[in-house]
């Protein structure tokens, strides 16, 4: 069985991004870029399924600039078998991303797509659900536990009310939550080996049409309203007095 893992190149989660002074965007020049952390978890899960003998090939795919080859190479160093980059110089919104991924799904015929529940740059949380819809297949989103048996996936989902378990027939799309696994560290020999693994690049326009009519336009970027500076108290008594003054405790 083949597993397809879509990944995104994003600003590293440790970077605190700043809005450009003119409000035209987010300053990303020279900042560290990484695999979206949720996608890294998706890669790890696919590799573990392969190591358990439940999958025989893990293919990673990304949509992004040429530099996204770095993140695909990292995925290959983690253990993925081959990689595809759909080149696009411009940011791609979820509907177009899902359409592009659908084309790759139709070509590759995976039985499972595992991907991060959201990218930590635009925080959309849409592409997995959209891909499942366009593919007309089931989804299990926000998954923290996954097992495969008899052409079905049993997935435990992190939902507001607790942990929900559902069963979906394969093929299916799985979106990962943080507690699914802890991704492995890449070792130096694996980085060397990854350089020889196949990485195919093709223009995004090869697989999708024009989505400009569907695009949301961002007209302004701004920093959030900061909270007012607070006060420090020295004792529990002082804290209780302040809370009483604000009418927050009886």
């Amino acid at each position: 069985m083949k597993i397809l893992v879509p990944i995104k190149r994003v600003v590293d989660y440790n970077v605190r991004v700043q809005v450009k002074p003119d409000g035209s965007g987010v300053a990303t020049d020279g900042v560290k870029m990484s695999i979206n952390p949720f996608d890294e978890i998706a890669i790890e899960e696919a590799l573990r399924l392969k190591e358990q003998g439940k999958a025989d090939e893990v293919v990673v795919v990304s949509i992004g600039p040429d530099e996204a080859q770095q993140q695909l190479r990292t995925a290959l160093a983690m253990g993925a078998d081959r990689a595809i980059l759909l080149q696009s110089g411009e940011a791609v919104q979820p509907l177009q991303a899902a359409n592009a991924l659908l084309k790759i799904v139709q070509e590759e015929q995976p039985e499972l797509v595992i991907m991060g529940k959201q990218a930590i740059d635009d925080d959309n949380n849409q592409t997995p659900q959209m891909l499942a819809t366009l593919w007309d297949r089931p989804q299990a989103t926000f998954v923290s536990k996954l097992s495969l048996e008899n052409n079905k996936a049993t997935a435990t989902r992190e939902v507001d009310a607790g942990l929900e378990t559902i069963e979906v027939e394969l093929p299916a799309v799985i979106s990962t939550d943080l507690r699914l696994n802890e991704p492995r560290f890449v070792k130096l020999p694996d980085i060397m080996k990854a350089k020889r693994k196949p990485l195919e690049t093709r223009p995004l326009s090869d697989v999708t049409g024009d989505f400009s009519e569907q695009e949301l336009t961002i007209t302004q970027y701004e920093a959030p309203q900061p909270r007012q500076k607070g006060v420090m108290v020295e004792s529990v008594d002082e804290l209780i007095t302040l809370l009483k003054e604000k009418g927050l405790v009886a």
């Binding site: 605190r16 509907l95 925080d123 989804q139 923290s144 939902v159 559902i166 569907q214 804290l239």
Partner: protein
Amino acid sequence: MSNVLILAEHDGQQLNQSTAKAVTAAQALNPETINIVLFADEPESLATQAASLPGVKTVYAVKTDDNQWRLAAAIAPAIATLGQNHSHIFGPSTTFGKDVMPRVAALLGVNQVSDIMEVLDSHTFKRPIYAGNVIVTVKTPDNKPVVGTVRTASFKPADYTNEAASIEHQELKNAPTHSRFITLESGDSERPDLQTASTVVSGGRGVGSAENFQMIYDLADKLGAATGASRAAVDAGFVPNDMQVGQTGKIIAPDLYVAIGISGAIQHLTGIKDAGTIVAINKDPEAPIFEVADIGLVGDLFKIVPELTEKL
């Protein structure tokens, strides 16, 4: 003029407060009509609740088999079909809404506006990106339906009224059989609901163990508060996932938030920035939580928290 369809959320018995908040967001559009769609195996009393939300014209109460109403793939096509007669389709930005609404958007051929925090006009909205570090204003295409999820911490719930919208009963037909609900495991629910409580007491890694969390529960019980936790405390196994507050947990806006032994990672802060008053108790005076706290107390939480519980 806008015609809004709202996807209602519930637990089988009660409408979730996110529904009343989505109504408030919809009202900001000055719409011609607001309709609600809800899916349930026993929709009658839920439909009555939804019908008393202000300004609602029609409640579409769709009866499903057993737990089908929990499955995004089962209900999304029916929402999209109803949605074709509406200019806006809103759902809550909860795990339920996040699961299903992008499917609706894909069926209608649009991108979704995720986590709407402010309605500027019928096609212009504010939403957070980069874990709330940046707020963007987005404009949706003029001639297409708007599919959005409503960030619940940004809107007050609309008050229920004595009026009643009309209820139209339907049945869910031809739902796919490829997905099946098995179980839902919830933490104990004796305390107030984390997402709607006016006071929340949260513990972090600094609390140290599942046993020590008793201290947090005791303080919460004294305050009549809900309990929450940071991701670190959930990852460490101190508490179940449904207590997690933050970017990947719950986004909340209580009147009082007490953060105990929580350092204040940006992903946690994004979940509480709409709280009225934030109290932080932490032994590290440099902890980032103090940058957002309205009242900070540096010290040993194992002394401070029992003393606070005692004296309140």
